[in-house]
């Protein structure tokens, strides 16, 4: 059987990005909501719900970037300069929020400042990721093997919309994680947040979905001709069904359900994205085969990924298992 390694690698990169969105999504989301919680026990509890796992979550972002460079070097070399400003902003946002985990404990006198940094850094990083996605979807100018646009090309109404949408989406994921992982006032507040945010996310998904087919003739063709038109009919139904269930379950119901339902909304959105983009890395200009690394690089990495990815998933699951159950308000001091 002939296996196209380029497709395999596209799948692995998509998997890494999806893992990242899910895992860092909820801890960035907690950052976005952070200053809405009361100073003291509430904030500490929100922080403790992610402190042991955030570093592992963020590693998927490094895999997404490093993996893209390794498997699709040309795409990496064009997309990153094209999205220069949002990517730098994301990195700096992540610096702020990453150090705040430790610093807020070390410096009680300036804890409010680090809390604000944690929140602001999370918002900036998330917004920048959403902008990156939007700017990629709307297209990137290329000349030869290089980016050919300016350094402001990325900002458009559409990319601002995707940026704001992702802030809402991650905030919802964060709220749902807190519903699952905490109890008491934080849990109750998280349910309140999740209720409004779930409506916000549905509106955002609708707006982005309606906008996208008109960005590029290729998207329009994909969605409005057979077989894409099936998805066009089914997707809104799926989103509406899950969305209404989510809205009701934010009020009451099992604590893990809102998180699971939000994840399926993210899953559907990513599926829609994949349908739009396939088989391109840069829409209408660079396909996965144009950008693929040579076969020997693909095989060399596939051996490593095949052995190491299952191990990673195993010990990451174990780490989550160690910290299972509801998080306490206060740590050991």
């Amino acid at each position: 059987m002939h296996v196209d390694l380029t497709i395999v690698w596209a799948g692995i990169i998509v998997f890494a990005v999806a893992m990242y969105v899910v895992m860092d999504g909820f801890d960035l989301g907690i950052g976005i909501l952070f200053t809405r919680f009361r100073v003291g026990a509430e904030r500490n509890m929100a922080m403790n719900a992610i402190a042991p796992v955030w570093d592992g979550n963020e590693t998927w972002l490094v895999l997404g970037g490093g993996g893209l460079m390794a498997a699709f070097p040309l795409a990496y070399a064009i997309i990153l300069p094209a999205l220069y400003a949002p990517i730098i902003a994301m990195l700096l946002g992540l610096v702020f929020r990453g150090v705040a985990f430790e610093f807020r404990w070390r410096d009680p006198n300036h804890r409010a400042r680090w809390d604000a940094g944690f929140c602001l850094g999370s918002i900036v990083a998330t917004f920048a990721q959403g902008v990156t996605l939007g700017a990629l979807l709307q297209g990137i100018r290329i000349s030869g093997r290089a980016y050919a646009g300016g350094y402001w090309d990325w900002i458009t109404p559409f990319s601002v919309l995707t940026g704001a949408s992702l802030v809402i989406g991650y905030a919802l994921l964060g709220a749902c994680w807190l519903i699952w992982k905490t109890s008491g006032p934080v849990h109750d507040e998280a349910r309140r947040f999740a209720r409004g945010l779930s409506l916000g996310l549905l509106a955002a998904i609708a707006a982005v979905s309606i906008y996208t087919p008109f960005l590029d003739a290729k998207y329009y063709r994909t969605w409005f001709t057979w077989p894409g038109v099936c998805a066009l009919v089914l997707m809104p139904l799926g989103v509406a069904a899950i969305g209404s269930l989510l809205y009701r379950r934010t009020v009451k119901g099992r604590d893990y359900l809102p998180f699971a339902l939000t994840l399926s909304l993210f899953g559907l959105s990513m599926l829609g994205l994949a349908i739009s983009m396939w088989p391109d890395l840069i829409p209408s200009r660079l396909s996965i085969w144009d950008a693929a690394a040579p076969k020997s690089s693909q095989i060399f990495m596939l051996v490593g990924a095949g052995i190491l990815m299952p191990l990673i998933l195993a010990y990451t699951s174990w780490a989550y298992w160690v910290f299972r159950g509801k998080t306490a308000e206060e740590g050991y001091h």
């Binding site: 460079m69 070097p73 990153l80 990495m301 190491l308």
Partner: protein, 467 residues
């Protein structure tokens, strides 16, 4: 500002700034993770509370350093693309997989077990917790392996060919790429440097507290361990540096010429320039203080061996001589000072005055940051010495950059400087505050340790050890 600096200069400045900041953290975490593994092993083996207390003392510092290393490292993994797009396109098929292996084998391992290491002491029991510490330590070493393989390939490229779109692609086995000529030397020299850096930092903290209270058991133990490390490893490091220098002479002679300050060739025995001021324009060293023929002895093991100088290399292929000349001297000078400190500690130990010789302690405090300075100086020597190429002799730095206009790079460079100083300077202050507290006999666990409210009572685990 943008009129005087080109986009290329700014991109280089940004890379130099971010990598120098970043490198400080792994240089410390590589050593500290191994030190913590040793401390925990000793505690598990002997049951002596001092080891458990030291573990708890240093893990709080480790947590801060590690967090700063992670966030500054994420920046690096994206900066290749944002600022060095042509390099990423051309060298991506070779350098990319090495970095992907670093992520898969090292970063996930560190991150996956770090949570348990920091917060899981009372959840998993001492043996599993020790395993977590060892996995984090292993992760730091694997990370060094892959990133140094990638860096060494840029210095001494091997096992490559060019495809029809101008990319470097593997030719034959990946082992040629990974085990490229300078990798084994660079790996040994860098990892030992990390251990030495950590031993000086630990020793400096121990000495600081010995000066205040020579009876503090934690301070005594950490000082003694650190001084053993310095005394044993410093000479090994000098040997490792020497062999790496010989390797560089073989594969990157222009770098060694710049390090030595040899503008001209010597037919019979080249002098060792101890100090002086390189004058690149007139191709000479001013106020040179030199020892005749010693350079030939060191590099060729023969007093009268001829040694080629920069006059044999086109000036367009020269690295910036002054920078390499000085950074090399800073590194070597500090290396010799560390060796002297190690010998002093042996003398003090022989006389039974290791904990009661304030001069030794004061010197050790002064040398506390020396490892970091030496590591950065060494890194500058090897990286600036690689110029003007990114892939040595094959791809010029000037041909490697992204098509980003200078205002954008100016903006990002300023943003990096502001954010790095704001965050990492705060981090340094917090680390110094933790270091300023003497190790107590009842060290607390790291803060922010989440505990379960429901479920079984945490096992007595490490918790009992401090009492």
């Amino acid at each position: 500002m943008t009129g005087t600096f080109t986009a290329l200069d700014l991109a280089r400045a940004q890379f130099a700034f971010t990598i120098s900041f970043h490198f400080i953290f792994p240089a410390f975490t590589i050593g500290l993770a191994s030190y913590l593994a040793v401390l925990e092993a000793l505690w598990l083996k002997t049951g002596k509370p001092v080891f458990n207390n030291l573990y708890r003392y240093w893990i709080k510092i480790f947590a801060i350093v590690f967090a700063m290393g992670v966030v500054s490292g994420i920046v690096m993994s994206y900066q290749f693309g944002t600022n060095w797009a042509v390099f990423s396109d051309k060298a991506g098929p070779i350098v990319g997989p090495l970095m992907a292996y670093e992520v898969l084998s090292a970063f996930f391992l560190e991150a996956g077990f770090l949570g348990v290491m920091l917060f899981g002491i009372n959840k998993v029991g001492p043996k599993l917790h020790f395993l977590a510490t060892c996995m984090v330590a292993l992760g730091t070493l694997l990370s060094a392996t892959w990133i140094l393989a990638a860096n060494s390939w840029m210095q001494t490229p091997a096992g490559w060919m060019m495809n029809d779109v101008g990319q470097f692609v593997p030719k034959g086995s990946w082992l040629w790429i990974i085990l490229n000529p300078s990798f084994p030397y660079r790996f040994v020299h860098t990892v030992i440097a990390a251990y030495l850096t950590t031993s000086l930092a630990v020793g400096g903290v121990g000495a600081w507290h010995l000066l205040r209270d020579a009876s503090n058991p934690g301070a005594r133990t950490m000082f003694s361990m650190a001084m053993w490390m310095a005394a044993i490893v410093a000479p090994i490091q000098i040997l490792a540096g020497d062999t790496q220098g010989l390797n560089t002479l073989e594969y990157q002679p222009a770098k060694v010429m710049a390090m030595e300050g040899h503008f001209s060739s010597y037919a019979a025995g080249a002098p060792l320039v101890l100090l002086g001021i390189p004058d690149e324009k007139n191709r000479r060293i001013d106020y040179s203080l030199e020892i005749p023929k010693l350079s030939s002895l060191i590099l060729e093991h023969d007093l009268n061996a001829p040694l080629a100088g920069l006059d044999t290399v086109p000036q367009s292929d020269w690295p910036p001589v002054s920078i390499v000349f000085w950074s090399f001297r800073v590194m070597v000078g500090l290396g010799l000072a560390i060796l002297a400190l190690g010998l002093f500690s042996l003398l003090a130990r022989m006389r039974g005055k290791l904990f009661e010789w304030p001069l030794l302690h004061r010197l050790t405090v002064m040398m506390g940051p020396a490892g970091f300075v030496a590591v950065i100086a060494g890194w500058v020597t090897t990286e600036v010495g690689r110029q003007p190429f990114t892939v040595y002799h094959l791809l010029r730095t000037a041909d490697s950059a992204s098509p980003i206009a200078s205002p954008a790079v100016t903006g990002s460079l300023i943003a990096f400087i502001v954010v790095y100083f704001a965050t990492f300077a705060s981090g340094a202050v917090y680390i110094l505050k933790l270091m300023a507290k003497p190790p107590s006999t009842h060290e607390t666990l790291p803060d922010a340790a989440p505990i379960r409210t429901a479920g079984i009572t945490p096992a007595s685990g490490m918790g009992a050890g401090g009492d």
